[in-house]
């Protein structure tokens, strides 16, 4: 499986080349180097896929062992990569979407002062992400997990001259630490119980786990996933992450990195299958996240914030799928989401780019005529995410909702309401930005916004096509469920299939379609000619349910108060007291010793005489014995 090494190797090579020579290659050469590295990686991923396709369904798990990494007692970790249907799907869409976003970035980041550095981080990110999805053991996955986290931090605070960008990067990093703690504790529990951290050994042996332990492991890993995949209550970092350049938001905070949590849960499906309570918890948190984020998205005025809340909402859907055991549906949604969400972000970026970095939708409007490609691709993405048939979202979201219905009707109701909201808030975005009256004159100072250069529109078109037709991957008709057939050997018995009656099989998709169209129509009626409706944009939703200010009040201010307490009380008295006390103790003892060092020779002699007395006494006593 050496070609698997190439998939991971090309981004690493690109990273190293850019790190060493990036500055010399400069703009736009560095961008092309990065893009070609990722494109080659995509080609290698396709080759890997074809190689796996040529094998029998049961033998599609291939392992590439490079070398031993850690060996301590009974604890072994090897650098081993795994090519199986799940990781190949991840590889394909990560490299594919990343290649398009790299291409787009060449245009978007043009004339940026640190152009080459952007691609250094981007290539390192793709490398880390590929390590994450192909690693064959938990520590190596964690390495990739932390790698994408670090790249995310660097890229969010890429424009660190802005204080808000710098602090957003820190916020993302710190909140993700909470999740990382769950990841590590989960890994420890797995090793404690199964004496291995390798997927090849852990996953087949998962059934040996006691039920309670399985629940604990599942919840700990879900904590990790909730951090990375921005679930309640840890999603606030993703909104601040929009401070990064828009291609970063598209690649990392929409299409790839945030799906790492979903991937992790899918990878650990044999453990999850044993943990019923944990699965239910995941499903509930997922659907609540989806609903809460969708509500918040309806009131945002920053175009990227809308999309960010939408991402959180979609990730909630994926977690709902994970929680109900619909792993294939979750992965399916992940793939289609990667296409249409990357597209939405890149289209937004195109708009922002042409409006001199303006992000408020209040100062946009009537851009459809001026930027036709951007507008049309955005509309396709909107229809996809809304779930309007026959675009991809209809099939992927539909399969999630079907399984949710099979599990519990209440989950399905919340999911459907969220779907309505999704169609509505994306419709609001499209109508306010591309239709209505132009409100951007102030921003552009006279000149008209124009369509982005071809290097940016080509990725848009490619992604638009993908977003439109990705539903073909897994049509709900027997014989056409390609993704299901491809992935089901990976999940095996963990994959839950619910039996729906024939009428339900017709009614559920019909409901989805009606709800999606309803959302579109409502948005059209409300926002076609308006850019502001106070009644529909309550402050509580604009502020994201005040979750951020709640964290600020409790944890941030609490932490500050604690730090102040430490600074004012603990440090001067206890710490300094201890340090000073030790110094004082030694000075005191030294002071006692100083008295002996009087400098008077006769005192020294007196002490010497004492020594002689003792020595003679010793001779006498030892001789007398």
């Amino acid at each position: 499986m050496l070609v698997l090494g190439l998939v991971i190797g090309f981004p690493l090579l690109g990273f190293l080349v850019l790190l060493a020579f990036g500055k010399r290659i400069g703009d736009p050469g560095a961008g092309w180097v990065g893009t070609i590295a990722i494109a080659l990686s995509f080609v290698a991923a396709v080759v890997t896929w074809i190689l796996l396709l040529s094998k029998h369904a049961g033998q599609r798990t291939q392992v590439l062992r490079l070398f031993q990494w850690i060996h301590a007692g009974g604890f072994h970790v090897n650098i081993t990569f795994r090519a199986d249907p799940l990781s190949v799907v991840m590889m394909l869409f990560v490299t594919g979407v990343a290649a398009l976003i790299h291409l787009y970035s060449i245009g978007y980041m043009k004339r940026d002062a640190r152009f080459h550095q952007f691609f250094v981080y981007l290539n390192l990110f793709v490398f880390s992400m590929l390590v994450l999805v192909t690693a064959n053991n938990l520590p190596l996955t964690f390495l990739g997990w932390e790698g994408v986290g670090a790249c995310s931090y660097w890229l969010i605070s890429f424009w660190f001259e802005r204080p808000s960008a710098a602090s957003a990067g820190k916020k993302a990093f710190i909140i993700n630490r909470i999740g990382d703690m769950g990841f590590m504790l989960g890994t420890f529990l797995v090793f404690e119980n199964l004496h291995s951290v390798s997927y090849s050994q852990v996953l087949p042996a998962a059934h040996r786990l006691p039920a309670g332990t399985a629940e604990a492991i599942a919840l700990l890993f879900f904590l990790a996933a909730a951090g990375k995949s921005a679930q309640l209550p840890l999603f606030t970092w993703l909104l601040d992450a929009m401070e990064g350049p828009t291609p970063v938001s598209a690649l990392i905070h929409a299409a790839t990195m945030v799906t790492a949590g979903v991937y992790l849960m899918a990878r650990l499906s044999p453990i999850l299958a044993l943990a019923h309570a944990a699965s239910t918890t995941i499903a509930i948190i997922g659907v609540v996240t989806a609903f809460v984020a969708a509500m918040a998205a309806t009131s945002q005025t920053d175009i990227k914030k809308i999309v960010a809340f939408s991402t959180v909402s979609q990730l909630g859907y994926m977690m709902l799928g994970i929680g109900t055991g619909a792993y294939v549906a979750a992965i399916f949604l992940m793939v289609t989401h990667a296409f249409y969400k990357a597209l939405i972000f890149l289209s937004s970026g195109s708009v922002i780019h042409s409006l001199d970095s303006e992000q408020s939708i209040r100062r946009m409007g009537a851009l459809a005529k001026l930027m036709p490609i951007t507008a049309w691709t955005m509309i396709i993405a909107w229809l996809s995410i809304a779930g309007v048939p026959p675009f991809s979202g209809f099939f992927s979201k539909g399969s999630i909702l079907e399984d949710a219905f099979g599990r519990n009707e209440l989950l399905w109701v919340v999911g459907v309401v969220t779907a309505l909201l999704t169609a509505y808030y994306m419709g609001r975005l499209v109508f306010v930005v591309f239709y209505g009256k132009p409100r951007w004159q102030e921003v552009t100072k006279g000149h008209e916004p124009h369509e982005s250069p071809r290097i940016m529109t080509i990725p848009l078109i490619v992604l638009a096509v993908a977003a439109a037709v990705a539903g073909l991957l897994n049509l709900p008709y027997s014989g056409l469920r390609f993704l299901h057939n491809w992935l089901s050997p990976v999940f095996g018995s963990a994959l839950v299939s619910y039996h729906l009656s024939a009428s339900e099989k017709v009614l559920l998709p019909a409901t989805d379609a009606v709800v999606a169209l309803l959302g579109v129509v409502i948005a059209w009626r409300l926002w076609r000619n308006h850019s502001e409706r106070k009644a529909l944009e309550p402050t509580v939703l604009l502020k994201g349910w005040y979750l951020d200010s709640f964290y600020d009040r409790t944890f941030a201010r609490g932490g500050t108060a604690l730090a102040k307490f430490g600074d004012r009380v603990v440090d001067p008295t206890i710490i300094d007291g201890a340090v000073g006390g030790v110094a004082w103790l030694f000075r005191w003892v030294g002071g006692l010793g100083r008295k002996v060092q009087s400098g008077l020779v006769r005192s020294y002699l007196l002490i010497m005489v004492g020594g002689i007395v003792v020595m003679l006494a010793y001779v006498l006593v030892s001789a007398a014995r």
């Binding site: 100083r594 060092q597 400098g599 002699l605």
Partner: protein, 101 residues
């Protein structure tokens, strides 16, 4: 019959005590030095006494070497005293306390 060795040893011990007391109580460096010579002589007397008691010439050889070393010691010691006196104009030990901690 000659006088028993233990008598000499007692005399030597007394002489040693006198010397030690002198070193400990006198303030003049030169007098302290002389007291040290007394102590050396006491030890020499012990050596000679044991040489006789044990019929071993080694004791006398040791005294021989002690005498040589004592001569050298006196030369260097008095040299130091002269140097200190030149430097500080005193031969009183209590005034020479540069090593005070």
């Amino acid at each position: 019959m000659s006088i028993p060795g233990s008598w000499y040893l007692v005399v030597a011990a007394l002489l040693f005590g006198l010397g030690a007391f002198g070193v400990l109580t006198r303030r003049n460096v030169i007098v302290m030095f002389m007291s040290v010579e007394l102590m050396l002589n006491a030890v020499n007397l012990t050596f000679v006494t044991y040489a006789r008691m044990l019929n071993d010439v080694g004791g006398q050889v040791a005294v021989f070497f002690v005498l040589v070393v004592a001569a050298a010691e006196v030369v260097v010691g008095l040299g130091i005293i002269v140097a200190i006196f030149r430097h500080r104009a005193t031969v009183t030990v209590d005034d020479i306390s540069s090593l005070k901690g």
